[in-house]
């Protein structure tokens, strides 16, 4: 279809000026948006209130669809669980036996750990109970990897709390609304998590690659000790994330470290748990000193 030739709306001066005014408005609008962009780049948290309001408005719809998604998923899982119930039962019984043994060992280790810690004089802040919430959406079209939680300040969630799922670390809250909270996922490039290799405590950092994987970089550059299949857990450095939360599995070696896949996939994690900040005073000191993100001060 040929575009209508509405460039010159007749001989009316008023109409011509009106058209001219829309162009002026359009260019002014672009400049205004550029100004807003500069403001939000300088102060990324500046427009959080607007964004929180948006999340609050859409949360009921997201909750509704999320419950449908989960019940459909549960249905499929329950049906398939019935099909091989007998063999699974036998396998599980065997597994319980071996797990019980390991549990006893772990209990003994825990007692020993506590005794050693008390010897060292470490005091752990174990703030109140965590809050169980649901992940109701992710930023599916943006390169920023954030998710929305179904609970907010009504349940006492604060900005800067670690979030974990049953399988491992999910991320941390960055802004909190009345009934929703925004979570920066570990796969976001901005989220730097202090981690270590589970078997020998080799310290490293993880930062997201925004495609569902994270890059692991050892603190001691020059050597690249990672190998495929290494298990990565949080190290507790920096004071934000508690130590020994399962983090990810190394998929491949890279030039300066490794590529790992986080254990916790937001798509398969219906429920998550907010945890208190591991060492709030350390985080507070770092934020005061650098005025930046807690773990980046490390």
């Amino acid at each position: 279809m040929a575009p209508p030739s509405n460039r010159r709306p007749g001989y009316s001066r008023k109409a011509q000026f009106g058209l001219f005014a829309t162009y002026v408005l359009a260019i002014g609008g672009a400049l205004f948006a550029a100004l807003l962009l500069v403001v939000s780049i300088v102060d990324p948290k500046g427009f959080n209130a607007l964004r929180t309001a948006g999340a609050e408005i859409t949360a009921p719809v997201a909750r509704f669809f999320n419950s449908i998604r989960r019940s459909v998923g549960d249905l499929a899982e329950n049906t398939s669980a019935y099909l091989d119930a007998a063999s699974k039962n036998a396998a599980l019984t065997k597994e319980v036996e071996s797990s019980r043994q390991k549990l006893n060992d772990a209990a003994a280790l825990k007692v020993e750990n506590e005794r050693l810690r008390s010897l060292l004089g470490l005091i752990e802040e174990s703030g109140g109970e965590g809050v169980v919430a649901r992940l109701i959406s992710t930023s599916a079209s943006s390169t920023r990897r954030t998710a929305t939680l179904s609970e907010g300040s009504n349940k006492g969630i604060e900005a800067g709390q670690p979030i974990r799922g049953p399988e491992g670390l999910i991320g941390r809250t960055i802004s909190v609304g009345p009934t929703t909270a925004s979570v920066l996922l570990v796969t976001d490039a901005d989220n730097v998590v202090p981690v270590m290799r589970a078997e020998d405590g080799l310290p490293a950092f993880a930062s997201g690659l925004a495609n569902g994987t994270v890059a692991i970089r050892p603190i001691n550059l020059g050597v690249n000790p990672f190998k495929k299949g290494d298990v990565i857990v949080t190290s507790g450095n920096g004071g934000l994330y508690p130590p020994n939360i399962p983090f990810g599995l190394v998929l491949d070696k890279s030039d300066d470290g490794a590529i790992a896949r986080p254990f916790a996939d937001p798509a398969r994690t219906p429920y998550v748990l907010t945890m208190p900040t591991y060492q709030p005073e350390v985080v507070a000191a770092q934020e005061g000193g650098e005025d930046g993100d807690a773990e980046q001060a490390e």
């Binding site: 040929a2 948006a33 599916a140 079209s141 925004a210």
Partner: protein, 184 residues
Amino acid sequence: MNNPIASIMRPRRSGGQYQSRLNRTQSPARMTVIPVVSVLLASMASALPIFTAGPLLPPLGLMVFLAWRLMRPGIWPVWAGLPFGLFDDIFSGQPFGSAGLTWSLAMLAMEIIDSNAVWRDHWQDWLIATIIIILVLFAGLWFVSLAHSAPGATILLPQIILSALFFPLVVRLCARLDSWRLAT
């Protein structure tokens, strides 16, 4: 058929039985509201529980916006990119003002293309929309990288391919909405 049930089932004209069947006009409210609401709803689609590992969901708000603008040049004033873009920024997770700027520039670019184009068809519209979507996505990534650390540009490839393939469908949807919008 004097069967009473058949007479109940017989389709009737809704309400205005005594209205004129000729020379009816469209409802002006419906004509303005349908395109606007469709863009706003598409912008809010990222609030649905769609869990992706990376940026994969096409920028639906932008695509519906472009589809309307390319299908009906002059449907919105040139400055319409700003309000629609700022609304999209609330839900997309990009730095606030990013879509406000890029959509405004897209609107101006389309105006310039319109003033130079001699003839337009669907393929050309598809090409224009794809180029604009690619530029907007890369600009969005660049804005993110100014504010935070950001991944490399290859991360956008799946989203770009998906958006380009998805655009004709969005045009079809908007055309359906358009025929409903202009129905009397």
